[in-house]
């Protein structure tokens, strides 16, 4: 950025460290055993534990989704009661939002990748990192207690006064969400500090991978918005247990106030879910097109712009709620403004492909799927931001389709891109490419078959959260249900080949994609301390036009007996030290 002032330039002795293809010790081979894992402060192990938990919750949430879709095969009762259906959609929504998407990319993949992309040994506060994981587990236990005990039937939105009067276990779940929030806040704080303090020599703000920018923007939202959710659920709990009237009109409260509080968190929360996905897309699209990212600053800063404007649009969930007319107008206007930075990103990614060297491996297939599906999600979001259209579409299946295109077609597909991209680094094993492509195809077909018909029936008037529906909507619901089975098969296939790859004895190369990213300049899987030297960075993470050797540099002094592997050519580089 600014000119290098003389005092800010230091001369570093660096040499090349070529990662070994056959590492003797990795973070798997050290600190083995259940107890070592449970008490580990290693960000990679914690990341994998998060990944495992997120996968379990996704399995549960997914199974519930298939049960819901099966019930909707016929207009009246198919096989479960209305109350059961209501509990299932509530749990499905709550699990997918709070236990899958919010922690998925930051806490699972981010934990693994963030310190490595910064060339650090770990996050800034490793113990706090472990604490966040256990807080997440405790939050989950509270939710399971609710499951076993009356369930929850309020929808994941907990709207009052319904949730004040409901006989289901509202308090347990709200406490679960409250606890979970701390996990999110701590992870966010940890990441912000790590990005500021632990960047390897040479990584200036302008050389941060876009994945880091995205996680950084996400962390800011997590730290600022989550406390509001905590207060909201706490107030709800107080109202239910102590009878203090805040939201319930019968006690002198205001039910619309709850909606304001709730969406003040939950709209930014949708950016907590999607922005990390943007980060992955930038990493994968450059690696598989061997191209410098187009519009680095446009992409980096638009994440921050989205993070900030995202705080000012919560009222677009309440256009029909009876909020004031002025508020409604302003919220609609601001909503459109968030659309712009999002659109800019999409176009920059497409432009990145221009004159690239494109290889359609599984992660790249998911990037293409993301660009297509997320665009649909974005366009339909513009539709919902438009006032008169939203009056007609609010709380119909159009909205259900819209948020599945954004959250599943966006975040989850980006997560799959990242999972396949980093899988060889995380596990040291390669999955079966053909099966990967078949699964991607099944997911693409299944997804569109499930959710495209929902746009049509929603627009024709099919309300959401409906156990029964009128006959006219039957064909749409049935297509959607069959699509969801195809989708389910796709996910099972992924689970199958990923699981199998872990137990195969074929080793993945240290950098199968020839990526320039710093995290790839380590062994697969990495050493317990990520690198056996202090990495030094002189190029940007997307400088695909420069030779690989220049990306494998480390402080010459930190050479620690890696013997013959390092090609020990000493170079003198001057680098700009970062300004904090």
């Amino acid at each position: 950025m600014a000119d290098a002032e003389v005092s800010n330039v230091k001369t570093l002795q660096v040499k090349r460290f070529k990662p070994s293809e056959n590492p003797k010790s990795t973070f798997f081979s050290e600190e083995k055993g259940l107890w070592a894992w449970m008490t580990t402060v290693d960000h990679k192990k914690i990341g994998l534990m998060y990944l495992g938990s997120v996968a379990l919750f996704f399995l549960l949430g997914g199974a519930l989704a298939l049960l819901l879709r099966t019930e909707l095969l016929t207009p009246a009762k198919t096989f479960i009661e209305a109350d059961t259906y209501n509990q299932f959609f509530t749990l499905h929504g709550a699990i997918m939002v709070f236990f899958v998407l919010i922690p998925s990319i930051p806490a699972a993949l981010g934990n693994f990748v963030l310190p490595m992309q910064l060339g650090a040994k770990d996050v800034a506060f490793p113990r706090l990192n472990l604490a966040s994981f256990y807080i997440y587990v405790v939050g989950a236990i509270f939710t399971f207690i609710a499951l076993a005990n009356n369930g929850l039937d309020t929808g994941w939105t907990f709207y009052t006064p319904y949730s004040t009067g409901s006989t289901s276990s509202v308090v347990w779940v709200t406490l679960g969400v409250f606890i979970l929030g701390f996990s999110s806040i701590l992870t966010g704080t940890n990441f912000i500090t790590t990005v500021h303090k632990l960047r390897a020599p040479g990584i200036t703000w302008g050389k941060l991978p876009l994945n880091i920018w995205a996680l950084y923007a996400t962390s800011i939202i997590q730290v600022l918005a989550t406390p509001v959710l905590a207060i909201t659920v706490l107030l709800l709990t107080m109202e239910r247990t102590l009878g203090i009237g805040i939201f319930d009109p019968a006690l002198g409260g205001d039910p619309v106030l709850f909606q304001h509080f709730f969406w003040f968190y939950s709209h930014p929360a949708v950016y907590i879910m999607i922005v990390p996905g943007f980060g992955i897309i930038s990493e994968v699209i450059t690696a598989f097109s061997k191209k410098h990212i187009f519009g680095y600053w446009a992409i980096a800063l638009s994440s921050l712009a989205i993070a900030f404007i995202g705080f000012l649009v919560w009222g677009h969930h309440m256009f029909t709620s009876g909020q004031s007319a002025v508020a409604t107008t302003i919220f609609s206007f601001l909503t459109f403004l968030v659309g712009i930075p999002t659109g800019i990103k999409i176009l920059n990614w497409v432009a990145t492909l221009y004159k690239g060297s494109i290889e359609m491996k599984t992660p790249m297939l998911y990037v293409f799927m993301f660009l297509f599906l997320f665009s649909i999600g974005g366009f339909t979001g513009i539709m919902l931001g438009s006032l008169s259209a939203d009056i007609h579409l609010h709380d119909t299946y159009y909205v259900v389709a819209h948020f599945h295109y954004v959250m599943m077609g966006g975040t989850l597909i980006a997560l799959l891109a990242g999972l396949h991209y980093w899988w060889p680094k995380m596990t040291g094993k390669m999955y079966n490419e053909t099966q990967g492509k078949i699964a991607a195809f099944l997911i693409f077909v299944g997804f569109n078959m499930t959710f495209l018909p929902q746009f049509i029936m929603g627009s024709q008037g099919m309300p959401r959260r409906y156990y029964n529906y009128i006959d006219q909507f039957t064909p749409f619901h049935q297509t959607s249900t069959i699509g969801s089975y195809v989708l389910g098969v796709g996910f099972l296939l992924i689970a199958y080949y990923l699981f199998r790859s872990i137990f195969s004895d074929e080793r993945a190369p240290s950098n199968p994609w020839n990526s320039r990213g710093l995290e790839w300049q380590s062994t697969s899987p990495p050493d317990l301390h990520n690198f056996d030297h202090t990495p030094v960075v002189i190029h940007g993470p997307y400088d695909y036009h420069k030779p690989m050797e220049e990306f494998q540099l480390g402080l010459a002094a930190s050479h620690n007996g890696h013997g013959g592997h390092g090609h020990g050519e000493s170079v003198e580089v001057t680098t700009e030290t970062e300004k904090a």
Binding site: A82, N86, Y159, P161, Y162, G165, T167, P249, A250, P255, V256, K290, K291, F294, G295, T320, S321, G322, S332, F336, L337, G339, G343, I344, I346, N348, V350, Y354, K355, S357, I358, E359, M360, L371, F372, S375, I376, F379, I382, G385, S386, L387, S388, A389, D390, I391, H392, D395, T396, I456, G461, P463, R465, Y466, Y467, N468, I470, N514, D543, H545
Partner: protein, 313 residues
């Protein structure tokens, strides 16, 4: 515009409220569709044209292009301003019922709708209106939040327990349109349906006159009240249990309570069950709630309901 996407919408029955909505939806769908096709073609074209030929492929360094960046920020910005203004205009119409609108009171409850006319007539789950005249609904909820939605008119408005909200429309032709509740409200949310029945103005007058003002014998009034207050969405009159126990054969019966006691059902017990449902809970229904009707039914009305329940043997 956007005729391509007309198939997505139901037939418009209230052009005064819905025409602008349909137009803006058609416009957004069309523009989005064109842009989406553009993006998709670019993706496929690049994937084929720049397919990797060898691991040593070299790619040019293209970092950014300010002209492009500004173009694709400004054009979408203009488009969204159009869409904002258009949506806003349509919405203003929805917010401003004409002064001569015919007013009907709506009461929403778990799980049904009652429509009250200025003659005193009350009907449940059917709202009869005259064609060609603006109708304004003034709505209030008896319990949780509901939402009044008529897809054919493109109108929707939440119905709140704490204050009045309103919505208006003008159906041009006689016919029927579906009403849905679109704010989740519990077990039978998806059965909380109603119909708008549009009559020629003359027929509407005749229909309204026939409704009287809620007169009749106490038993007839009681039967009507049980429908209007939604008792029948929780209590059957045919002997089967729904959310609550059946009302059939209730009067004079020995009722088993949740705390183990038994009680003979008489007038006072029914009265208490309506005003203070939590005072004595029927065994087997501990996990269900009946909301209190305190302040919503008058003493005379309770007497009428009791007379009606007595006839259900």
């Amino acid at each position: 515009m956007g005729g391509l996407f007309d198939f997505m919408l139901p037939e418009l029955e209230s052009p005064m409220t819905g025409a602008s909505t349909d137009a803006v939806m058609g416009f957004i769908h069309l523009v989005s569709f064109i842009l989406l096709i553009g993006i998709t073609i670019a993706l496929i074209y690049f994937a084929i044209k720049y397919k990797r030929k060898s691991e040593d492929d070299e790619t040019p360094l293209i970092t950014h292009n300010n002209t492009l960046e500004i173009t694709w920020s400004v054009i979408p910005l203009i488009l969204v301003f159009i869409v904002f203004g258009w949506g806003y205009k349509g919405w203003l119409t929805l917010q401003s019922p004409p002064d001569d609108a015919y007013e009907i009171h709506v009461s929403a409850f778990k799980w049904g709708w009652t429509f009250g006319y200025d003659t005193g007539a009350q009907v449940s789950n059917e709202v009869h209106v005259p064609a060609g005249r603006p109708v304004k609904l003034v709505m209030q909820s008896e319990d949780v939040i509901h939402s009044f939605y008529v897809p054919d008119y493109r109108i929707k408005q939440d119905v709140l327990p704490s204050r009045y909200t309103s919505v208006w429309f003008q159906a041009e032709e006689p016919g029927e349109s579906q009403v849905f509740c679109t704010e989740y409200c519990g077990t039978s949310h998806s059965d909380m349906l109603a119909k708008v029945i549009v009559h020629e103005p003359e027929d509407f007058k005749i229909w309204l006159a026939k409704q009287g003002s809620g007169g009749g014998t106490p038993i007839e009034r009681g039967e009507n009240l049980v429908g209007i207050h939604g008792c029948t969405s929780c209590h059957s009159i045919d002997g089967s249990d729904k959310i609550g126990p059946t009302l059939k054969g209730l009067f004079g019966k020995e009722e088993q309570l949740a705390d183990g006691a038994t009680i003979t059902v008489d007038e006072n017990y029914i009265r208490e069950s309506i005003l203070e449902p939590k005072a004595k809970i029927v065994a087997g229904f501990e996990n269900q709630v009946m909301t209190s009707f305190e302040g919503r039914v008058s003493d005379e009305e309770i007497s009428d309901i009791i007379e009606y329940i007595k006839t259900l043997e």
